[in-house]
């Protein structure tokens, strides 16, 4: 570019190039907005649909894009804007604390959601849905983010968990609290079943086989009529009780025991806190595991399998534990899903669900816990937010995903926190190392023995 070739001309406005860019931006905006803003459907008096063109509004929107792009080009030119320089020096120190506060702030917000939105059933349901996906995302993060095993059939374990609870409750009358661990165990058992045949596969091949596994589970649920009732699904799944107290308007119910007025919301709030606790347990276990040898072995496996083997890591066990661990949390989430819905059918466990959870993990930043939580909230919240766009929702959604991937190719939170620290880089502080190792090595010994 001529502007770059001679330093002296750098300051000169390159009007032609600026106009070109602005025009290009306007053209893109026109392409996108023409469908989203330019046309609108109306129902006529006779019930038929007709299209209303809105060229004026469209012109205004495209004009805004053109003018703002031109202004940006003329003001900034080739210069890259350094966001840091816009912050006054006095504010930099407080601002640096912000990222550290993000996780506690989100947690506090999650805790008080039922208080803020007590009257708003819609928001509570949305919160429960988001937390379910946060939990699924954290579970899949173990398999995909930490161990680096691309799993496109994660929904299978979610389904195993849901059907485990539904069937155990139907046939044996087990309560939710007994079924929850059983569902986790069964799901992790299926995780190992899937793990064995795919031990030698990586990347694309692994993805295809896991995807097939997800479909197989769904088709079995659909066709094993005598056990699963096929496409009719299972209804009347018992609701969870508050440690034995059912949520009903009868003596001995939750409301009566605590002297409250019976309200339908009690159960919703309880479900909300239940999934919040389940998700936090998933998070806590993952964070702990990352600092233990097994967690480090997962990460090393993601980086290089051959090196792992030459360092004495049993890659077979490492992969199987990753699959089993990820599947277990999906199983927990599945039995929660069953008890919340009260009805499940194979329709709830399609490939779209797997893709959704995987998208959450990838967008959040593989391996990052907070990133996954934020991505789940953004994706599902965004889904709801753009509900009025109706058919264009997927378009907006796809565009948003593309933009995120351009802006942050490694996900929203791309940085990986090391699991061992030393106090000073120049001086190896033996005490620090010993402390870090004391935590983890006792576990490792137990594993090796």
């Amino acid at each position: 570019m001529s502007v770059l070739s001679t330093p002296s001309s750098k300051a000169r406005f390159d009007l032609v190039s600026a106009l070109k860019r602005a025009l290009l931006a306007a053209l893109v905006a026109f392409g996108l907005f023409s469908l989203m803003i330019g046309v609108r459907t109306h129902t006529g008096s006779n019930g038929a649909l007709f299209l209303e063109g809105r060229p004026g509004l469209l012109a205004i929107m495209v004009g805004i894009v053109f003018v703002s792009t031109l202004a940006r080009e003329l003001i900034l030119g080739e210069r890259q804007i350094e966001l840091r320089s816009l912050v006054p020096p006095a504010l930099t120190a407080p601002l640096q604390i912000l990222p550290k506060l993000a996780a506690p702030a989100l947690l506090v917000f999650a805790l008080i959601v039922p208080i803020i939105f007590y009257q708003n059933r819609y928001m509570l349901d949305l919160g429960i849905m988001i937390l379910t996906y946060v939990m699924l995302g954290w579970g899949l993060n173990i398999v995909v983010g930490l161990a680096g095993l691309l799993d496109l059939g994660y929904v299978a374990f979610y389904a195993v968990g849901a059907y485990s609870y539904a069937l155990l409750a139907e046939h044996f009358g087990f309560s939710f609290w007994i079924c929850l661990p059983l569902a986790g165990i069964l799901a992790s058992f299926w995780g190992i079943i899937l793990g064995f045949p795919v031990l030698r596969l990586r990347g694309d091949y692994l993805a295809i086989v896991t995807m097939a596994f997800g479909e197989i589970i769904r088709l079995v649920l659909l066709n094993f009529q005598t056990l699963t009732h096929g496409p009719d699904g299972i209804s009347g799944i018992p609701r969870p009780s508050f440690f034995g107290l059912p949520f009903n308007n009868e003596p001995g119910g939750f409301a009566h025991t605590f002297g409250l007025h019976y309200s339908f919301t009690h159960r919703i709030v309880f479900l909300y806190y239940l999934i919040l606790v389940l998700a936090l347990v998933t998070n806590f276990v993952t964070i702990r595991l990352r600092r233990l040898p097994i967690g480090r072995a997962w990460e090393a496996l993601r980086e290089d399998e051959i090196a792992c083997r030459s360092l004495g890591i049993n890659t077979t066990n490492t992969k199987l534990t990753a699959f089993a661990m990820g599947a277990m949390f999906a199983g927990f989430a599945g039995s929660f899903f069953a008890t919340r819905q009260g009805f499940i059918s194979p329709e709830s466990f399609t490939f779209t669900e797997s893709a959704m959870v995987l998208a959450i993990v990838v967008l959040g930043g593989m391996g990052s816990q907070i990133g996954v939580a934020v991505a789940a909230a953004v994706m599902l919240g965004g889904f709801e937010l753009f509900r009025e766009f109706a058919t264009f929702r997927m378009l907006v959604f796809g565009l948003a995903m593309v933009l995120i991937m351009i802006w942050r190719p490694r996900g929203l939170v791309a940085t990986r926190t090391p699991s061992v620290f030393l106090r000073s880089p120049k001086e190896v502080d033996a005490e620090d190392v010993r402390r870090a190792r004391a935590k983890s090595w006792s576990w490792r010994r137990a594993r090796h023995d």
Binding site: P293, R296, A297, E299, A300, R302, E303, D304, I306, A307, C308, R309, S310, L311, G312, I313, N314, T315, R416, P418, S419, V420, F421, L422, P425, K426, V428, A430, V433, R434, R437, W441, R444, R445
Partner: protein
């Protein structure tokens, strides 16, 4: 040392006996015999595709040889899974370094200590840092951000963290500047002289490798064609013609 050394008398530390390795129907090693005695540095040189790395990998359990035996201190380790071989105090720095790119130097070294007892971790860490002070400076850096030479140091350092009695190095000079090659080879010599560490290295850089090694082997097309003391091999006209003249790298 975990176990009293079984290398008494004439039993070599590592013995390869008539090993034939195939990739499918293609024969890569056509019957290799090789001895490595305790305290030695042994180098295997040969051109690209001669089968050097295949031999290294066969010793480490993957691929498994179709015929022949690999003996470590008299014990048959043929066909043992790689992670179990690593537990016998044999360490390998595989071809192409293969460090864990997103993990820090510290974490990489910690992974190296997977098979050892934790009691002497700090001591081992200090030993690696003494050998490669550069790693100490970069202890919190991600492995992937290190330069090629530093990555090679890390790969060797990681292998040393398991307190090996036998260290296998696959092309430690690959892709390094001459000065760095010298640094790496000096470190290997130091380990051998000071700690009597037994080293088996596979190299294309015949000049440096044979100068360093007590004994050397020359491999051509899956067969060992020459063997002898390193410096003697360096003088052999066929070695000079094939690997040295026309540019010592």
């Amino acid at each position: 040392m975990n176990a009293p050394s079984a290398t008494t008398g004439n039993t070599p530390m590592l013995a390869v006996r008539g090993v034939k390795t195939y990739y499918g129907n293609i024969i890569a090693l056509k019957g290799i015999d090789l001895d490595i005695h305790a305290g030695e540095i042994v180098a295997m040189i040969g051109a690209n595709g001669a089968g050097k790395s295949t031999l290294m990998m066969t010793i480490f359990g993957d691929p498994r040889p179709r015929e022949g035996q690999v003996l470590f201190e008299g014990r048959d380790i043929t066909g043992m899974p790689a992670h179990e071989i690593a537990r016998l105090n044999i360490a390998q720095s595989p071809e192409g370094r293969r460090i864990f790119g997103r993990m820090t130097v510290m974490e990489n070294l910690q992974m190296g200590a997977t098979v050892t007892d934790n009691a002497h971790f700090e001591e081992d860490l200090e030993r690696v840092f003494r050998l490669f002070p550069r790693l100490k400076e970069r202890v919190h850096q991600r492995g992937g951000t290190l330069s090629g030479g530093e990555q090679q140091m890390l790969a060797i350092g990681r292998a040393l963290m398991s307190r090996p009695r036998l260290l296998l190095l696959d092309e430690p000079s690959l892709g390094l500047a001459p000065l760095l090659v010298k640094q790496i080879f000096d470190a290997i010599r130091e380990l051998n002289e000071r700690e009597k560490l037994t080293v088996f290295l596979v190299e294309q850089n015949a000049f440096h490798a044979l100068k360093l090694a007590h004994r050397g082997y020359v491999m051509v097309n899956g067969l060992i064609t020459l063997s002898g003391p390193g410096r003697e091999l360096l003088q052999r006209p066929e070695v000079r013609a094939a690997y040295l003249e026309g540019g010592r790298h």
